[in-house]
């Protein structure tokens, strides 16, 4: 099919089999390799992207499911050469070790802050429950989300 959608703010049109996984479309056809494949079955969250502002797992999404939609991947977070506050905070708190899970956590956290700019520690933990990390023990990641949320609120104030 000729698939039209918006990707990280830009209009995209590609020829793709409608049943191709969004994950393969992003990584192999469009070269956006920030989105990772961990389990391929919905269990690890490494492939989390945003579709129309909501979190979605690219390993369980077909190309035809994003027709006409707005897709945001980790490549779309940094603006004008400057890291997103979530990315900065993750680096500062030591929330990135091997980094494999990082794009998924970033996108899930980004989706949380869209609906809840002032989450509690418990809310952050619960929201990130679908993302697995084998390295950090999670607390640094939760710290980073809370820190970024605070800075984003300050920046808006």
């Amino acid at each position: 099919m000729r698939l039209r959608f918006r990707l990280n703010g830009r209009a995209v049109e590609v020829g793709v089999p409608p049943g191709r996984r969004l994950l393969d479309l992003l990584r192999e056809d469009l070269g956006l390799i920030g989105t990772k494949e961990g389990c391929g079955e919905g269990e690890c969250g490494a492939c989390t992207v945003l579709v129309d502002g909501k979190p979605r797992l690219a390993c369980l999404t077909l190309a035809l499911q994003v027709e006409g939609k707005e897709v945001l991947t980790v490549e779309g977070l940094a603006q004008g050469g400057k890291l997103h506050p979530l990315q900065e905070a993750l680096v500062e708190t030591g929330g990135v070790q091997c980094g494999f899970c990082t794009p998924g956590f970033l996108m899930a956290a980004y989706a949380l802050l869209l609906v809840n700019p002032r989450p509690s520690r418990e809310e952050v933990r619960a929201w990130l429950s679908g993302n697995l990390c084998r390295c950090t023990g999670y607390e640094q990641i939760v710290d980073a989300v809370l820190l970024a949320a605070e800075r984003m609120r300050d920046a808006r104030a």
């Binding site: 089999p17 393969d24 391929g40 979190p55 190309a63 035809l64 499911q65 429950s129 993302n131």
Partner: protein, 283 residues
């Protein structure tokens, strides 16, 4: 590893979708069950028909008798919609499904048609005595959820048919609602056992009760003997102790990777006492 894409179509409207289904296509909504099953090789449909955005499957309509919920509405959409506030049990159950991404993708219709004995959405549908509204080229028909579900992963869905909506009749009075599931991992797991309940309490005693158990029988189970035996009991765990064996006897659990049958039966009994405790706590 590169996998061959599965053939899939996105019909323009309901009529086109039904024609594709009549040709042997399989409905795809959120994909959180079906795409996993295809990957694991337990499902191998000739092609997929994406029904997740058909407007007819996305209605949410309040009538005088109840709420009609489109089959393709996602768990997250249902949790956020004001109309579901009249069904606290539905919200309680849906809030425990998967992770935020799974809730933003998965639909109530998909949870129903998957017909897993562990389906959490099903627990709410059994408690609310939901009616399944089906559509095909031949027209519409309606079935109670307990008749629609015929066994583990088996439903009364006919070839060429879609679940259009679920009808949830309003409840009389103000029952207390309860849902708890015991699983091995916090977020993503399919329960070892779950119990949902609607209990109408009058003057400290049970006036009426509906119970639904997940994962302890081939389908979600309404233990009618226990529901009836509860009527008139004070809401105190001590007063329910003799019902635990009755509840355990009603279950027909299996052993699998997640838990043994014996353990599941024990958990079900403990969940009944947890319900009594929750009700005894002054609201």
């Amino acid at each position: 590893m590169r996998r061959r894409p599965i053939p899939a179509v996105k019909p323009a409207d309901l009529g086109e979708a039904l024609r594709y289904l009549a040709e042997g296509g399989k409905p795809l909504a959120g994909g959180t069950d079906l795409l996993v099953a295809i990957r694991k090789g337990t499902e191998n449909p000739p092609f997929l028909v994406y029904v997740g955005e058909l407007p007819e499957l996305r209605v949410l309509r309040e009538t005088a008798e109840g709420l009609e919920v489109g089959a393709a509405l996602t768990h997250a959409e249902l949790l956020a919609h004001p109309a579901t506030a009249r069904f606290p049990i539905l919200r309680q159950v849906l809030a425990t499904i998967g992770s935020p991404a799974i809730r933003a993708m998965g639909t109530l219709g998909g949870n129903l048609v998957t017909a897993s004995p562990a389906g959490d959405g099903l627990v709410a549908l059994y408690l609310l005595e939901a009616r399944v509204r089906l559509v095909s080229a031949a027209g519409e028909r309606e079935l109670p959820v307990a008749e629609f579900i015929q066994g583990p992963r088996q439903t009364a869905l006919r070839p060429g048919e879609l679940v259009r909506a679920l009808f949830l009749p309003y409840l009389e009075g103000q029952p207390l609602s309860f849902f708890r599931k015991v699983g091995r991992r916090q977020a993503l797991v399919i329960a070892v056992a779950s119990l949902g309940a609607l209990v109408w309490v009058e003057g400290g005693r049970v006036a009426q009760a509906r119970l639904a158990l997940g994962s302890v029988a081939p389908t979600v189970l309404r233990p009618r003997e226990v529901e009836q035996a509860l009527v008139g009991r004070p809401v105190r765990p001590e007063a329910w102790a003799d019902l635990v064996p009755l509840l355990c006897a009603a279950t027909q659990p299996i052993s699998d990777l997640r838990a043994s049958a014996e353990y599941r039966r024990k958990v079900a009994g403990r969940l009944l006492l947890a319900l009594a405790q929750a009700l005894a706590r002054p609201a």
